[in-house]
Amino acid sequence: MPMITRRRLLAGSAAALALPAFARAQSAIKPRLTAISQWSAGSDGAAITALGKKFEERGGVWQHSPVPGFTTEMMNKLRAQIMAGDPPACSQLKGPEIAAWSKIAPTVSLDELVAAAGYEKVVAPDLAKLHKPGGKWIALPLQIYSTNMLFLSKRAMDKAKADKIPVTWADFNDLAEKMKAGGVAYPIANGGTRPDDGQKFEASLAGISPAAYRAAIMNLDKKALEGPEVKAAFVQVRKIADWMDPNVGAQHFSTNLKRFVDGDMGMMIMGGWAQGVLRNAGFKFEDFMIAPGPSDNGKPVFLLNADAFIFWQRKEPDLQAGQALMAQLVMDPAIQTMYSQITGSIPVRTDVDLSGEGWSDGQRRTAAALKDAIASNQAVLSVAHNMAQENGLTAALIDVITEYVKNKTIKPEQAVTRLAEAVESAR
């Protein structure tokens, strides 16, 4: 581990403060970026490779080391590098983990770059807050997914003789009953993983009341946690659970996509990424419909999940120049367009026009839903995908939810008590 002397630390922070000016002044330096992320394969891998190409086109040296597997494996590598005093110039990290990790190693302030790009006013406010813990921008969101999109199987809709997309939970429940009556074996398509169960709950609660979701799950308000909306959400989750195929065990949702398209399963509450998975599996846009998840007040509710990059302080001038270049690229609407068109997400910037070629209807509808949801203050942070709380608390909440989904002897009111207790003991 290199010795961190006071002088070095001072020099490092001075350099970081002067970063943008420094980068301009030292234009002779070839920008270089060391980055780690979990994106190695599929559309994620293709997207970050494309980003790297752009970085190189601007004269930079791109050194990306993917850590395939779960996000936690990427985090273990990041932890090891930070403890060895050698963090990457930039790494994938998201949600409240940005604030937590920024406490263990110095980060780069991106305020000047963000101000120069006029970025702050085109980012959803709740999302912006996550990337500037302590008031300073230290991380930049890269792309957005909604975790509560509703996917409808065309063939299942035909079996139910329905063509209307459900708006409220009551509509949703009606349609599920119709599908069941029309011969759809399981009206809900799903997997059995923890985030999958978590998504059913967050979609239910936020759809019943975004305000209650914000208070109970994002702010952990005790009264809201034990409130009637949370109980109603658990009641809705049980209905959903009863319409699922119990045989999925711990399978991934993608295992059942064929049965979903075939109309053997009817509806799927899943993140926008499922569109990419469906398309990659060779299914056509005519096979399914995409709409925002059910919302009882009729206006779209958007459960935000956003990938981001955090920038770690380095003293090497070429890495600092690389960080400045990377930040500019990530905020660039053209780059965000390129990235989202590869992965199927939507851009972080709310001012990107999605009417052109390369965007799907699902992406357009998602972007429109985000705009509406921000306008009506119904854009909230997903708990199932680690956006609302730090990993420890999230896991404690999901424990209760996943047990409730799989154990039908637990009553909704018991689940409410357990959820409040889990928050209490994890704090």
Binding site: M83, N247, G249, D399
Partner: protein
């Protein structure tokens, strides 16, 4: 002394290195378990707070109950299966070598592979239950994998499949090393095969039995990859095991202190098996010269 230096080096250097490794990291983990560490190790003292919170968590309680059930069922059943296989193979049958390899072979397969394959076989929608349904017996039910009360037994099944061959190999070696004079004497006294095994051969096997129990128990306590691939702790959190809880706390919840506390609790469980064994061995050795 100088002449024997290479011998000393080959024995003592690796031994000291691995002992230092083991001891220093164990002590480090014990120290971390008393600190408020979360994302990274930090110094500080929180007393037993990490322990009380782990012991009070539902995850740990379920994991501990599961360990008791899984540990005893797995050890007992793999012991019985292994012994039966060994006795059957001991009947001087043809093709013994082939059969022995077949039964021992699962041991060469990684637990992740075992877990994944069994997760398909046991899945009611695509596995054994589906097969029997397709044969026409549609009321047949075998859905333990998704039944939270029975799911732990699927891990027992897969673990037995994997490691009863190991018990068999040890027992077979034991059966083959029984003193031929003893067997002849019993035959002269007119003992039949059942009586022969019950009264003469099996009693000589009990040191091997103890060894098998201890090895299988320490395997049971540290089971991780098998359950991760087979049920991943599910349905819900019904098949949690202590090793899963440790991994989950340390690397998924970023609570190093609590994870370390759970790891130390696992070490204590392990010691509760190993210490009596060590004591027993010590007593055996002391008794041997008098025998």
């Amino acid at each position: 002394m100088v002449r024997r230096l290479p011998e000393y080096l080959t024995i003592w250097v690796p031994l000291l290195l691995s002992a230092a490794h083991l001891v220093s990291f164990s002590l480090w983990t014990i120290w971390i378990s008393f600190t408020p560490s979360t994302l990274v190790p930090v110094s500080g003292w929180v007393g037993l707070r990490n322990y009380t919170s782990v012991l009070a968590s539902r995850n740990w309680q379920i994991a501990f109950d599961n360990l008791l059930l899984f540990g005893s069922a797995f050890v007992l059943l793999s012991l019985v299966t292994g012994l039966i296989l060994a006795i059957l193979l001991d009947q001087r049958i043809r093709g013994e070598n082939v059969l022995r390899s077949i039964f021992l072979y699962p041991l060469a397969v990684s637990f992740v592979v075992t877990g994944t394959v069994w997760s398909w076989l046991l899945n009611p929608g695509i596995g054994i239950q589906k097969l029997v349904h397709d044969f026409g017996w549609t009321s047949f039910r075998f859905d333990w994998l998704i039944d939270r009360d029975m799911a732990i037994w699927t891990i027992v099944i897969a673990a037995i499949w994997q490691s009863s061959g190991f018990a068999m190999a040890l027992f077979l070696a034991g059966l083959r090393s029984v003193d031929a004079d003893l067997i002849k004497a019993a035959q002269i006294d007119g003992a039949g095969p059942v009586r022969m095994y019950r009264r003469v051969i099996l009693p000589t096997l009990w040191p091997i039995t103890i060894t098998v129990i201890v090895i299988q128990l320490q395997f049971a306590i540290s089971t991780f990859d098998l359950v991760r691939a087979l049920t991943n702790g599910g349905p819900g959190i019904a098949t949690q095991l202590p090793a899963l809880v440790v991994y989950d706390l340390m690397f998924q919840r970023n609570l190093l202190g609590r994870g370390a506390a759970a790891a130390v609790l696992m070490l204590l469980i392990l010691l509760s098996v190993l210490l009596p064994y060590a004591a027993w061995q010590y007593l055996q050795q002391r008794r041997a010269p008098h025998a």
